[in-house]
Amino acid sequence: MKARKGLIILFLLPASLLYGIFFLLPAIQAFRYSLYNWSGFGDSKVFIGLQNYVELVNDKVFWLSLRNTMMILVVGGIIVFTLAFIMTVALNSGIKGKKLFRAMIFLPNVIATIALTTLWAYIYNPSFGIIVNFAKAFGLEKLSNYIWTSPDNVFWSVLIAIIWMNVGYYLILLMAGVDKIPKEFYEAAEIEGANKVQTFFKVTVPLIWDVLTIAVVLYSIGALKIFEFPYAFYGISVPQQLYTVGIYLYIMGFGKRYPIYRLGYATAIGVMLLLSVIIVVLILRKLMKRDILEY
C-alpha cells in the first residue's frame, strides 16, 4: 500500500528511538568500553587497547564459565530435544488428554525463574528436601545420601532443572511442526511398510526441519545468555561451578557481596558473549542447512 512518508516516519519513530537509544546504542558502546581499564562508574577510563581480551584469554575462570555455558548448550540441548521429540511422539500416539498433558509440561515456562530456583533448592535440600523425603519413604539409602548441591554435583543438578524448565517450550514448537504434516504422508509410509522408527526419521524429522532449525537456534541463544537460574540457585555467593558467561560478566561488573566494578573487563566478556552467539548461530545455520521439503 502507498502511504505518505510522514506517516511512515511517525509510526516508526517512537519504537525506533527507544530501541535505538536504550538497546542498540549500549550494544555498540560495549565494543568501545571493552577497550578501557575502568574501575568504577564515576571514575575516568584509561584506554588499554585489546588488553582486556588478552587477559580474558588467560583467565581460567572465564574459560570455566564458557565451558559451563557450552555444556548447557550442547548437553542440555541434546537432552531437551531428545525428550521433546519423545514427548511429541508420545502425545501424538493417540492418547487421551493430549492438550492437558502438553499444558502441564509447559507450566514451568510461565512461573518466575526465581520461584523455580527456590523450588529446586527445596527439592534438592539434603536435610528435608523432596528427594530426601521420597528416598527415605522408600528406603533408598543411596539416593537419600546423595548430596545434590555439593560442589561436584551442583552443576548437573542445576542442569536437570534447566532441562525440566525448557522441555515444554520446545515440545510445543515441535508439536506445531508435526501437526502441519498432512496425514497422507503417514498413510503412504504405512503402505510402504515402514515401521514407527523409520517413519519418524524418514517422514517426521525431514518434514519439520524448518521448525526444528528455528527451535535449535532459539535454544542455543537462550542457553548462551543464561543467567537467572544458576545465579539465583545458590544465593548471593554463587560458586564457580555455576558460573556462566553472563554470570561472570555480572560478577566482574557489579560484584557479589562486595562490589568489584571491573567495568571494561566485564564489558569485554559481554562482547565475547555476543561473538559466541554469532558464531554458534552461523555454525548451526551451516550444519542444519538442508533443502526444505515443500508440501
Partner: protein, 298 residues
C-alpha cells in the same frame, strides 16, 4: 435363515471381535506414552502443589511431617510475607511497572509493526533486519553500557527507569510477533477503506488495529508474563528495598533464609509471585501456545 446369512453374521461378529482386540492392543501400545508424559506432568504439578500446601504449614510441620497435609491452615505465613516481608510493596511495584510497560510496548510496537509489514518503502528490509537482530543480543552485554546511560539520566534505582528499560528491550520480540500478525491480514479491506475515503492513518486505527487485536492480546500476555517474572534487569537497575520488584523481593527473601530458616514464609512468597501468571495461564493457555507456534511455523 440360510447358510449365507449365517456366514455373514459370523463374519461380522469376528470383525467386531478383532476390532475390540485391536482397540485393546492399541491401548496397550499407548501405555509407555501415558507413563512417560504422565510421570513428567505429574512431577511438575506435584512439586508446585507441594509448595502451595507447604505455604500453609508451620515450619515445624514442614520439617517433621513433609508428607502430611497441613493440619491447621497457617494463613499467617501469607500475612507475614505480605506485610512484614514487604511483599505488598514489591507486588505493587511489579504491578505498576509491568502493566505500564505492557501498554507502552504495544503503543510503540503496533504502529511500527504495521508500517514494517504492510507498507512498501525504501529501507524496509534493512529496518526489519535491525529490529530482528535485537532478539540475538544477549542482555548481559547491555548491563554496563546501559547502566551508564541510565545513570546519566538519573534513572538508576528508579521505577520509571526500569519501565523505560523494559519497554525498550521488549520491542524487538514484540515487533517480531506483531509483524507476523499484520502480514497475515487480507489486503482487500485496506484498499476498500482507501476508496471509501479513509485517511492513511485511519486505515491503521480503524481497520488494521481492530483486526490485529488477537495478535495484540497475544503480545500483551507474553510481555506481561515475561516482565512479571523478569529478574536480571531489575537486579542491575534497582538497589533499594522500596523499589524492588517481586522477583527481587523473593530473591532477597531466599537469601536471608540462611539466617531465618523460615521456609513457610518463603513458600508463601513463592505462591504470591506464582499466582498471577498461573491464573493467566489457566485461562489463556491455548492462546499462548498458539502464539509461540505462530512465530516459528509461518
Amino acid at each position: 435363515m440360510d447358510t449365507q446369512e449365517l456366514n455373514n453374521i459370523k463374519r461380522e461378529e469376528a470383525a467386531k471381535k478383532s476390532a475390540r482386540k485391536g482397540k485393546r492392543l492399541m491401548w496397550l501400545s499407548r501405555t509407555p506414552s501415558y507413563v512417560f508424559v504422565g510421570i513428567w506432568s505429574l512431577f511438575t504439578v506435584f512439586v508446585i502443589l507441594w509448595v502451595g500446601l507447604s505455604s500453609l504449614k508451620s515450619n515445624m510441620q514442614i520439617f517433621k511431617e513433609p508428607w502430611m497435609l497441613p493440619t491447621e491452615l497457617h494463613f499467617e505465613n501469607f500475612v507475614k510475607a505480605w506485610s512484614v516481608m514487604r511483599f505488598s510493596n514489591y507486588f505493587l511495584n511489579s504491578t505498576l511497572v509491568v502493566l505500564i510497560s505492557v501498554v507502552l510496548i504495544l503503543v510503540v510496537s503496533a504502529p511500527a509493526s504495521y508500517v514494517l509489514s504492510r507498507l512498501k518503502f525504501r529501507g524496509r528490509t534493512l529496518i526489519s533486519m535491525i529490529y530482528t537482530a535485537g532478539m540475538g543480543i544477549p542482555y548481559p552485554l547491555l548491563f554496563i553500557p546501559l547502566f551508564v546511560i541510565m545513570a546519566s539520566l538519573k534513572l538508576i534505582d528508579n521505577l520509571v527507569g526500569l519501565t523505560i528499560v523494559y519497554v525498550s528491550l521488549s520491542i524487538p520480540f514484540t515487533v517480531y510477533i506483531l509483524t507476523g500478525f499484520f502480514s497475515s491480514l487480507p489486503s482487500e479491506l485496506e484498499e476498500a477503506a482507501i476508496i471509501d475515503g479513509c485517511k492513511d492513518y485511519q486505515v491503521f486505527t480503524k481497520i488494521m488495529l481492530p483486526l490485529a487485536s488477537p495478535g495484540l492480546i497475544t503480545a500483551a500476555i507474553f510481555n506481561f508474563i515475561g516482565l512479571w517474572n523478569e529478574y536480571q534487569l531489575a537486579l542491575v537497575f534497582i538497589n533499594s528495598d522500596e523499589n524492588r520488584t517481586i522477583s527481587l523481593g523473593l530473591y532477597s527473601l531466599a537469601n536471608s533464609m540462611q539466617y531465618t530458616g523460615d521456609w513457610a514464609g518463603l513458600f508463601a512468597g513463592i505462591v504470591i509471585i506464582m499466582v498471577p501468571t498461573i491464573i493467566l495461564y489457566i485461562f489463556l493457555s491455548e492462546k499462548m501456545i498458539a502464539g509461540i507456534t505462530m512465530g516459528a511455523s509461518k
